[in-house]
């Protein structure tokens, strides 16, 4: 009977494709929007992930994220270094500045000052050049998104001069970095150099990056540093999470994406529900005949479930493949750099598809079950 059910459905091309389209569309919308949402808010943690060697980030009590920070006095570094369990601790500066590019355009940039001696604080990989270039005078390293923003014409950025708050800067390498939430241009330079670029108040130490001694967990160490120094200390994972939470709490993004995902669900229910009921209505005589001949309601239910299952499987597959193609086709665009589909998202859209089909299939099935077998003689 299942075989007959499948043939009934696929035999009606228009409705079959309508149903598959409805499911595929919903899946695509839900999967794609959730993927973009998750990747976008994870950008709130990109500055943390760009420095994977730091186990703990230490900052002023009021600092909240890598971008929302309040500088500390330079003595904080020594106070942190004296806490037991600290293997190493280096200064880290983050500040905003304006840059005038060769074309004369003004662009807001983030300046990141990394430890002069160890260069801890730089992204690990370079696209062009190496971290050593920072030993040359006035050197900065630009991130790859920054290249796309400042040099739209595809010109090589190497040896390009920039004017940074009236100071000279020369780009000597390109870092392979995860873009920030706003895709802002980031310029990495030595801490001592960064102090020159960021005009100054007395306190300019944004963070102290800390490595834990063997046998000490990041969590323990952060607690110890807080107790010993009165500063705020966050493990890498906590601080990454802080960045994400900040975006969730301070932007309308979750709501907007939530609305789109809900729309995807509703449109799916509408298209699939309507098409499914039309299909059932067109075949109600046949279903009635089957009931009269001697097919139980349970078997009819299984037939409709098989029809829904087939539509779901094909539609869902197409929707997920569509999302993959979408992400893949935009992967060259720096805004989408590093986008991936977390495994939970296809699972969520699978549940959504199952809900859509359970709901619409049940509505359609009700009509069949309500049909009296005696109606076949009318």
């Amino acid at each position: 009977m299942i075989w007959i059910a499948i043939r009934m459905l696929t035999g009606d091309g228009q409705k079959f494709y309508g149903l598959v389209f409805g499911i595929a569309f919903s899946t695509l919308l839900i999967t794609q929007q959730l993927t973009i949402f998750v990747n976008l808010i994870e950008r709130g943690a990109s500055s943390v992930y760009n420095v994977p060697t730091a186990d703990v980030w230490v900052m002023d009590e009021v600092s909240r994220t890598t971008d929302v920070n309040y500088p500390m006095a330079s003595t904080a570094l020594d106070r942190v270094r004296s806490v037991p369990g600290v293997e190493w601790a280096v200064p880290h500066l983050r500040a905003g500045a304006s840059v005038r590019s060769g074309d004369g355009d003004l662009e807001g940039v983030s300046i990141v000052g990394v430890d002069d001696a160890t260069l801890i604080g730089l992204p690990l990989r370079m696209v062009t050049g190496s971290a050593d270039v920072l030993s040359q005078p006035d050197s900065v390293i630009i991130d790859d998104v920054g290249v796309a923003r400042l040099f739209e014409d595809g010109r090589s950025p190497i040896e390009e001069r920039l004017e940074l708050n009236d100071q000279r800067a020369v780009i000597r390498a390109v870092a392979d970095a995860i873009p920030s939430f706003t895709s802002q241009v980031t310029l990495y330079t030595k801490y001592s150099q960064a102090l020159r670029y960021v005009p100054g108040t007395r306190n300019r130490l944004s963070f102290v990056l800390v490595g834990a001694s063997p046998g000490v967990t990041a969590g323990e160490l952060a607690t110890r540093i807080e107790a010993a120094t009165g500063l705020r200390a966050r493990t890498r994972d906590q601080f990454a999470r802080d960045g994400v939470d900040f975006i969730i709490q301070n932007t309308g993004i979750p709501l907007n994406f939530g609305i789109t995902v809900a729309l995807g669900f509703i449109v799916g229910v509408a298209i699939v529900g309507l098409t499914f009921s039309l299909f059932i209505r067109d075949n109600i005589k046949q279903f009635g005949a089957l009931k009269a001949i001697g097919v139980t309601n349970a078997k009819i239910g299984r037939m409709v479930a098989a029809q829904a299952g087939l539509v779901g499987l094909i539609g869902y597959g197409l929707g997920v493949v569509g999302t993959v193609l979408f992400i893949w086709s935009f992967s060259a665009n720096p805004t989408f750099k590093g986008f991936y589909i977390p495994w939970q998202i296809p699972l969520i859209s699978l549940v959504a598809v199952a809900l859509i089909l359970a709901l619409t299939g049940w509505l359609a099935l009700r009509n069949v079950l309500r049909t009296e077998p005696a109606s076949v003689f009318r």
Binding site: M1, R7, D12, I293, G294, A374, F377
Partner: protein, 248 residues
């Protein structure tokens, strides 16, 4: 055979040999505020091995009665035995399974499934019984051959003429060798010659010593082909004989 020694209907029992036996079957329909009684206490025996007609004017209750006799419409009152089984005392699922095993249906509108071929349509009762798909198909093709449309087995319903579609519907009613075949207005849509051909065909394949066949019709062109004619008027049987009464 039945009814010869003892008129069982007179004392309210059922002749064990009767294919169908109805006692006191009444059926009401609600029409808004009113209740209309369509059947008034029908007592009837249908015998195997005969082509039995149920004849009457439009609205007299023929379809209602045949639906009750084949287990797809509950009577308001009364009991129906089909081959000795009191079908309306069965559970829902049992009744459905009883129909699947024992009853063949020929619907006026055929109700074939448009996207499967003639043989598969004819095989539906076997497939529903759980018979292996290839075996079901073989048996369906054999039945189509008996109905002289074996060469159409692989065609979809919309590639067949109306008459051919009806034969597929007949094949579907007979493929699982049910003991009771019911048929509503089989000739209504056909011209006189085709109508008689279908009746000849039904007599050929649907009438057997151990099988009962009831046909609802008001087509006077085929009255002469019946073994027994029952006339229904306003929900009561008013005539029972080989020929139509005078005046109809």
């Amino acid at each position: 055979m039945s009814g010869v020694l003892l008129d069982t209907s007179a004392i309210g029992g059922c002749n064990p040999a009767a294919a169908i036996c109805t006692r006191g079957v009444t059926r009401d329909f609600k029409a808004g505020q009113q209740t209309i009684t369509v059947l008034h206490g029908i007592d009837l025996d249908v015998r195997s091995g005969e082509l039995t007609y149920l004849v009457g004017e439009s609205g007299s209750g023929k379809t209602t009665l045949i639906s009750i006799m084949c287990g797809i419409l509950w009577p308001t009152l009364g009991e129906v035995k089909v081959f000795g089984t009191d079908i309306y005392s069965l559970g829902d699922t049992e009744l459905v399974e009883f129909r699947l095993k024992n009853i063949g249906f020929i619907f006026q509108q055929y109700n074939l499934i448009p996207s499967i071929d003639a043989a598969s349509n004819a095989a539906v009762p076997l497939i529903a019984q759980g018979v292996d798909r290839n075996e079901a198909r073989e048996r369906a093709v054999a039945m189509l051959e008996r109905l002289n449309i074996g060469n159409q087995a692989a065609k979809l319903p919309n590639q067949l003429s109306g008459g051919q579609q009806q034969r597929v519907a007949i094949a579907r009613a007979l493929v699982h060798e049910p003991r009771l075949v019911v048929c509503d207005e089989p000739t209504a849509a056909l011209d006189a010659a085709s109508g008689r051909r279908v009746m000849d065909l039904l007599r050929d394949v649907a009438v057997a010593a151990d099988r009962a066949c009831i046909i609802v019709t008001h087509d006077n062109r085929i009255f002469d082909l019946a073994d027994r004619i029952l006339v229904l008027e306003d929900g009561r049987i008013t005539h029972d004989g080989k020929h139509m009464p005078e005046g109809h």
